[in-house]
Point group: C2
Chain length 248, copies 2
């Protein structure tokens, strides 16, 4: 089967607050090695250009130069319909982690009709639970005892697995239809949250615990734009009904 490699343009690498510009450069080089070219940085400060460029090599310099920089993670993720977060393997407490090999195979199915992001946290602490809440899936590289990989190497292994599965294994794509973007989902979650507060399902204590659980299953459902709008519509209508009821 012939696979159009241009679908790799639908994947972005998102680096959240990396400490070392060298790792941004090395990530750009890995992306370039594996046919990816979109790099997004979430950071408050401009990283040192020279240190990035040295590790990117001249072949991946255009990726560094074209890199989007956002201060806010939610803004950075807004266009993406499928977001994979990465963590070091941490036993079973997070539960939903899967291997890059499995996940890159699934990700490929999203690419013909959706924008997708691979998100990596800071070198020392990784992604927080609050950052992982935007993700449809969480990837952990299988390791022996010492599970903390160098950031650029974690990026390299994910890019390699995606390229390998698409190009080398000639995976048969089973394209997923266009899903709601992170921007649309976040709008929906906000309406869902308001409605659940209104009916006292979400109380102050454990508010975020229950909301995160709801985000998890709604986020996993591969809702279309239309479906997310239906859910929003119901919540909005409920709120209007409540106001009207209270006015009486």
């Amino acid at each position: 089967m012939y696979i159009d490699t241009s679908i790799l343009n639908n994947v972005a690498i998102v680096l959240v607050r990396p400490k070392f510009p060298e790792n941004i450069g090395a990530a750009a080089r890995s992306a370039m090695n594996m046919g990816l070219s979109r790099l997004i940085l979430v950071s408050d400060r401009e990283p040192d250009k020279e240190a990035m460029a040295k590790m990117a090599t001249h072949k991946a310099l255009h990726i560094i130069e074209g890199m989007e920089i956002h201060k806010n993670l939610e803004d950075a993720l807004a266009p993406f319909a499928y977001i994979i977060g990465t963590t070091a393997r941490r036993g079973r407490q997070r539960g939903s982690e899967r291997s890059p090999r499995q996940l890159m195979g699934e990700l490929a199915d999203f690419l013909p009709n959706n924008q997708a992001a691979l998100m990596f946290g800071p070198e020392d602490s990784g992604l927080s639970n609050d950052e992982l809440k935007y993700c449809q899936a969480v990837s952990a590289i299988p390791t022996a005892g010492f599970s903390s990989l160098n950031l650029a190497q974690a990026v390299a292994i994910h890019c390699y697995e995606l390229y390998h599965c698409l190009i080398h294994d000639q995976k048969d794509l089973e394209p997923v239809t266009r899903c709601a973007t992170s921007f649309e989902l976040e709008g929906m979650f906000q309406h869902v949250e308001e409605a659940l507060v209104e009916i006292n399902f979400l109380e102050e204590k454990n508010h975020s615990y229950w909301m995160n659980n709801i985000r998890k299953f709604l986020g996993r459902m591969q809702l279309t734009s239309k479906e997310s709008n239906i859910i929003r519509g119901i919540c909005r209508q409920f709120m209007r009904y409540q106001e009207h009821y209270e006015d009486r």
Copy 2:
């Protein structure tokens, strides 16, 4: 099937004349992530300890501290019976390159009874043909257009594939019996070469071209120590016979 991870102690990472000590440190960290612990450096000079240690992190410091350093590649490779060299993908002129996924699966079968080495060349030029001649197989990571990976990332991807195939995929091992080591094979090649010079099969012109071809198929044969000794014995006996013949 239960796989004893201690067989990973039978694999060494061999770095040939790396330019940047940071890459040695990062390779040590990757090795540690994936359950490997043996690192060998082929170099004329001692690399900067601080730069290595920084990238190794304290978790892989013992790998740096226990690293063997050799000036000579042949000496470094002497104990190994299965040696995989790595190159950037270079079209078809080398012909025998295969993917790390295939090769790490085969390598695993050697580990119960043999010492094996994964060999990586310098950042800028990679392994020369003269260095690749020691290898039983050559690995090239599949890439998009830009095929030159960062050294530490090439190490990471190979270590990851080996660990993944052994532990995560729970590969069924089909153990290969003990093969001749590189030391034994080099001794044999020397005797074969002398005999072939004597009968004028190897003439000055194209000497190394034909010798390299012979090395290739003899190196691939997975000869046992005993078999390599038989071949040596035949060559030695032939030379003795020749001397005797000339004396008459």
